[in-house]
Symmetry: C2
Subunit: 341 residues, 2 copies
DNA sequence: ATGAAAGCGCTAACAC
DNA sequence: GTGTTAGCGCTTTCAT
């Protein structure tokens, strides 16, 4: 007894432009025109095509389109972490605008790891994105070469440099830290502790803060360094350790992120320490709670929405072939004084 | 005088497999094999090809590959918001695993807006993703039809239903809220206020909480409803208004997110109100600060990492053609009692 | 182990 | 306004 036909897969056959053309009684190209340049097609034809599209539930194949036109309408975006609001909020502002211009985002997290970034860049480039967004301005030479080779616009965000791969949108981390140090000195703080996460930009801020604070006060700066990403819990831990080591009067803690600062605030409150009288805190990032917590947090504000939007504009400028596109966009920073320092 | 050649664009000509083949003295197909099935090519040939790839910096064109093979290795992921850690953390867990299996993510934010979701689904489907991840289980009929039509695996997350498009991974929101209500009653709270953001799942939790609390206590539940996403600031505002309206003893606030709860905690602290004695607070989500803040926050924990990972496995199961894949994955929830209630 | 041929579904260039 | 012809850069199938 012969076996009946088994494993007859439903084999979802996709509707193509050719199918639509057949239904509408026109050729495949006309369908293509109807979809991408409707005014180049007669109204009657257009209507028949639209009807066929409706009936069949036709969905264009953007893969084929991209292959034929060498335009993928894809932007590759690489960020260190999605769960860190400073990056995700930029990404939201960025992708909002790019989406409005017909671009889609392919996303990867690099976790502050150059190797992951390298792999991710290679993989993303194979999709032939029309542009790439990277976080930070320090990248392996391989990454730089691949990107240069791809010959597409690249925007590096959250930092600036005189030698971007293509262009960058960010701010001078060292200057932000120096501003914080100046503020701390002017406000009368005599001792400082830095609380720092492991990422390279945070380290640069720490060093710039320390250099300036020491130069102005002739006082050593104590360092609390973490390799893990900043969390509230680590912030609490940091203050605990500082207290164990002996907290001096007139001490300010310069945290590499508001997350740390929040932890310091919590720990201070638990221990019945008054902020800013017993200890002062400066955060970094100006997340929502900084303004809303009690005591409110003195911090360095980065306008992440503007940053994301500027990155988008920079790419759009490049797409439109604007003659002399700006290479370095400094969106600045602002030290926001509140109650904690 | 004839014009010289101007606008000579550098026309980045991409290296192709054919180019590599020419360099290595083999045909284009052999290059294809060398890259996707190295063991089907002789060691010497393989080495020559690899060398050519190195020299030229060849990057495969995944667009062409996907078109030819009908496999894009793309997963479309739609989430309401990237800046909300509950979604971004799931996405991180999810994409981590998918990336490990060779898949890339195309991302869109829908902002809790069905229309945006509909447009996004259509756009994403045109890229011929191998699967789609959606947030929530309520989608327009158009979305359902498009997805069904695409014939690819679909996973709906952060909620469960008996009638998923394909499969879902989440938990029963109503049950979570009922558990919170039961807890509140058992803990001796006599009055309740719900603080709720505008999204549909939060509303469902609110209603379930209210129904159960009222049934158990014969007491009306007061509602504080917001249409905007939950923020600390709105949480403070909520408590202010509750107090203005007259805060009764033995009141518990059931917040639709930890964000709200944090705001309530801050406002209470500012006003010198003791938690949980003057008022109790229950959050939702168990974000990091819930455990770390003082007083720590009683909240409903959702294991977002497991959720994201389960969603990934569900898709991988489908890809591998596993016979009877599970359609409904309930990852559950857990009421975590801490200091605030 | 390697190659030739066909074709994925579209856009671009050029006819008519 | 519409159609014809060529690809885009791969994978697949079938020969050898």
């Amino acid at each position: 007894m012969p076996e009946g036909p088994k494993n007859t897969p439903k084999m979802r056959q996709h509707v193509t432009m050719t199918d639509i053309g057949r239904l509408a009684g026109v050729s495949q190209v006309t369908v293509s025109r109807a979809l991408s340049a409707p005014d180049k097609v007669s109204p009657e034809t257009l209507e028949r095509i639209k009807e066929a599209v409706r009936q069949t539930g036709y969905v264009p194949n953007a893969l084929a389109g991209a292959l034929a036109s060498s335009k993928s309408n894809l932007i590759a975006a690489l960020v260190p972490s999605l769960t860190n609001i400073v990056y995700s909020s930029m990404l939201t502002a960025f992708s909002e605008i790019m989406w409005g211009h017909g671009y889609q985002i392919t996303l990867s997290e690099t976790g502050f790891d150059p190797e992951r970034e390298e792999k991710a860049v290679a993989t993303h480039l194979s999709r032939r994105p029309d542009a790439v967004l990277l976080t930070g301005v320090h990248h392996s030479s391989t990454v730089r070469r691949m990107l240069l080779n791809a010959g597409i616009p690249v925007v590096e965000i959250w930092d600036i440099t005189d030698t971007p791969i293509d262009c960058c949108v960010g701010f001078a981390h060292a200057n932000a830290a120096i501003a914080a140090a100046e503020f701390a000195v002017e406000a009368g703080y005599k001792h400082a502790v830095t609380v720092t996460a492991g990422d390279e930009r945070a380290l640069r801020r720490r060093d710039a803060f320390e250099a300036r604070f020491t130069a102005r006060t002739q006082t050593m700066v104590q360092q609390m360094n973490f390799t893990r990403p900043a969390t509230l819990g680590l912030g609490r831990q940091a203050l605990s350790q500082v207290i164990d080591a002996g907290l001096q009067p007139k001490t300010v803690l310069f945290c590499s992120s508001d997350q740390f600062a929040q932890g310091v605030l919590v720990e201070a409150s638990v221990r019945g320490l008054a902020v800013p009288d017993d200890l002062a805190v400066i955060g970094f990032g100006d997340q929502e709670f900084a303004r809303m917590t009690a005591p409110s947090l003195t911090t360095v504000r980065i306008d992440r929405q503007t940053l994301g939007e500027t990155a988008a504009s920079a790419l759009l400028d490049r797409f439109s072939g604007k003659p002399d596109p700006v290479a370095v966009h400094d969106v600045g920073f602002k030290l926001v004084r509140r109650d904690s320092a």
